[in-house]
Symmetry: C2
Subunit: 498 residues, 2 copies
């Protein structure tokens, strides 16, 4: 969701957080991370892969709660579940942190081809969309693939239903899913079409594989009244409409949506901690988002991210591993349609952000972990982070080959970027994520228990080392050479050796 003007101002000011302060402790050289943390990393991985409570947590969240959209009773239930589960695991400082979040409901909805023949179109309304009048809206279909085609067809859109038929390419190892590029019309399409006089907007579901599976997701929200209903139809239905138009037919569609925005309602981020032994006021955030779309079970998006974070500190606690700094689990609310949970966190914790030594988010599904991305507002520090993460990720070698990359971390932690917080995103093997993303099919059976355990182990090892190592992940290399010896001495007394 595009943030509204009023909120933008609040966020802009809160992002002017205290500037990054240089590390107050020494930091290890490459060989130090390897020599000091190899043993404990292997111990964490072995223990996690042997037994952990992540799958049981997934059952609790996915089967016990189910889907949980922002502002729903189910999301309230998920908050209660997360609080109870983290308390039961013995974590410290377990509490909710209130945030006002949007409540939007889908209601009854359908789409139907009415000319040249009658046929159901499989669809899901876009989150935050306005609804249609009671009888729906009907219009001939104008199909465009991209902005250029849109401009060319703009004169035909008055009274029409515009379909943005922009296909997601097949996932490749080199290019990934191309989500960011493909999804753009889901956000901006309805407004573009509205400005040309269209009565509704359809977008091709953002996926490269479909079994007549509609994919929802947020569309931009506007409070100025110039909004038309927006819905995603399946790739199959988009292909059929395209074939009809290519054959010279003039398909007409009726769209009915009872979608409604109910305003802002109370919600909560959920916090739980493994408190640091020496510098508990310094924090490594590990996180996923607790809200999910109102279809499926939010298993990969983002139940798995939440559970990986929750279970990571449970594993450390069971092993008696307490790092110097605090590891704080944050389960964000309302990532999907507003990011208002993370926005509130940045406001509430702004005096503390300088002591956030890292914020990690897992929001790309719980598949085989393949590394982490690093992101920093300062490119030199981002490069330093990447180098240091390469050393840390080498210790995950028992799981598989890992890579540190520079780039996108996560939608929630991303809001801490301008405050100079070092950000990380859990990267996973992403070939199938967008088959399930925002669909009825994002269910627990799609999660592989071994992958899930590996994600727990990855989160536990990385957060433990970052929380325990003397220096900060984003310390610049120039500051350190003279400190290597004292660092080594320091680390020998680290709690994981006890």
């Amino acid at each position: 969701m595009r943030i509204t003007a009023a909120f933008s101002i609040v966020i802009a000011s809160c992002l002017l957080a205290p500037p990054h302060v240089a590390a107050d402790v020494t930091k290890p050289s490459r060989s130090t991370i390897e020599s000091q943390y190899r043993e404990v990393a292997t111990r964490i991985i072995d223990a996690t892969m042997q037994q952990n409570g992540a799958w049981k947590k997934m059952e609790g969240l996915c089967d016990g709660v189910g889907h949980r959209i922002s502002g729903s009773p189910e999301l309230d239930k998920a908050v209660e579940w997360a609080l109870a589960t983290m308390r039961s695991d013995g974590h410290e400082n377990v509490h909710p942190e209130k945030a006002m979040i949007p409540k939007w409901t889908r209601g009854d909805e359908w789409a139907k081809l009415v000319e040249p023949r009658i046929s159901d179109l499989h669809m899901l309304g876009l989150g935050m969309s306005v609804g249609t009048p009671t009888g729906g809206v009907t219009g001939r279909v104008v199909i465009v693939q991209d902005e250029d085609a849109f401009d060319k067809a703009a004169g035909q859109m008055r009274g029409a239903i515009v379909l943005f038929n922009n296909p997601m390419p097949q996932w490749t190892h080199e290019k990934g899913a191309c989500y960011g590029h493909t999804v753009r019309f889901r956000g901006k399409g309805p407004r573009m079409a509205a400005e040309k006089g269209a009565v509704a907007c359809l977008v091709r579901s953002v996926t490269a594989r479909s079994l007549r599976s509609p994919h929802t997701g947020a569309t931009h929200f506007h409070e100025d009244g110039l909004s038309i209903p927006g819905a995603a139809i399946t790739t199959e239905d988009a292909d059929m409409l395209q074939r009809m138009v290519d054959a010279g037919e003039a398909p007409v569609v009726t769209l009915k949506m009872d979608a409604r925005y109910h305003g802002m309602v109370p919600g909560a981020n959920v916090i739980g901690e493994l408190r640091g032994s020496e510098r508990p006021d310094e924090v490594v955030v590990i996180s996923g988002h607790l809200d999910a779309w109102d279809v499926g079970q939010g298993a990969h998006d983002d139940g798995g991210g939440c559970v990986a974070a929750m279970e990571a500190i449970s594993v450390l606690r069971r092993l008696g591993l307490r790092p110097r700094r605090t590891i704080r689990v944050v389960l964000w609310t309302n990532e999907e349609n507003g990011v208002f949970g993370a926005k509130q966190y940045v406001i509430d914790h702004k005096d503390e952000l300088a002591k956030h030594v890292a914020a990690i988010e897992s929001d790309s599904g719980t598949f085989t972990p393949v590394g982490m991305s690093v992101q920093h507002d300062d490119k030199s520090r981002q490069a330093a982070m990447a180098n240091r993460m390469t050393e840390i990720l080498a210790l995950l070698e028992p799981i598989g080959p890992m890579k540190a990359t520079e780039g996108w971390s996560g939608a929630d932690v991303g809001l801490m970027r301008s405050a100079g917080v070092p950000l990380l995103g859990q990267n996973v093997h992403g070939a199938t994520y967008f088959d399930y993303h925002h669909t009825h099919a994002d269910t627990l059976d799609k999660v592989d228990p071994k992958d899930l355990s590996q994600c727990v182990a990855s989160m536990a090892v990385v957060s433990y080392i970052i929380a325990d190592m003397p220096g900060r992940l984003d310390d610049l290399p120039e500051l350190t050479p003279t400190n290597i010896h004292s660092t080594r001495g320091d680390i020998k007394s680290a709690p994981h050796h006890r």
Copy 2:
């Protein structure tokens, strides 16, 4: 559908067709097929792959008509479309042949988990199932995997909803899809559960890959009143219920189905021919079934089979290739829930079946062709067919490697087996067929135009050779040695050399 007692008698008697009569013409040796038909086969393949009308026909049937269940107005429309299309292609003897077929309608239907929490289950009622009372039926879920588990749990089924949770294994090259083994509870499950006092029956959808995709299909039909509603739920929902039961919970489900059987109504097989030049009364049937389930577009099941047959004779006609015998396209009605089209054909044509030199069905989807299966009531003749088909299929080498196998041909042509008709089934690469089978996702985009063209070419080449070669496909080898020379002389004047 299990055939009812009254119909069984009719069918049993009509299957006592005249016994197989020995071939009245000589037949070619292995080298003769190769030397006489290699050139024409290559010509057919090249012409087909260069250009053909199959995709346009698929658009007409899938997009223009859409799904077309037995007894529906859409199936009537498909019959009209097929007649008009074959007439437009210039075929001979194009006509419908009336058959009485069952009319069953789905109506409104849904399933819901109501305990321990409320959640929609994605489902499709089983074809020919009875409906529920207006308010639906509600029962605790008893889950069984197989017949043994069913027997053990039989005492708990009174008033319950029985779920047959029998998973389809992943497709493998060696074992294929294991459809026959996995699908058995869809047919017999509701009756089994009814006999133990259950109020409804759910079956796990018969697929190894799902995006919350319910798969319908026929269940056995009984006129004795001991019937309970039957529906397929998705593998995802079956897995969830299983996890709940395994965790000691007692899920309760409500099932609502307005399904209704309306009795027998008029329908039609559609016939079109490329008449033979020398023995037009001898017939090679090439066929698919025109009816489809009432979801999706019936693209792979079995629009592609129909179109491959239709286009095969159009290709031959355009090339001026008229074989000695007649190639008859038969588009069966009501394969899915009764096979009453094929039953009627066997009755109406019973005096002609001895002159059916082959009946080929394509009903496994329109993927890359990989060969043909042969089936004969006489195992010696079946073996002879396999040998001869190996020779014929070798001529499809420009398409890819092909194999003749002995076994299942097709549900429709299968009814001619006891009349001694040589049967063939088009085999295709089957790794994904059951992802789409009987679902909303069986749509035209799942058909690859190149695969479709190859299926047309396969059907055209095989039917042409079988219709043209002097001997019958099922002639026993012992009968032939002395005739090889005369055969060769005979073949030199075959029409494809003109």
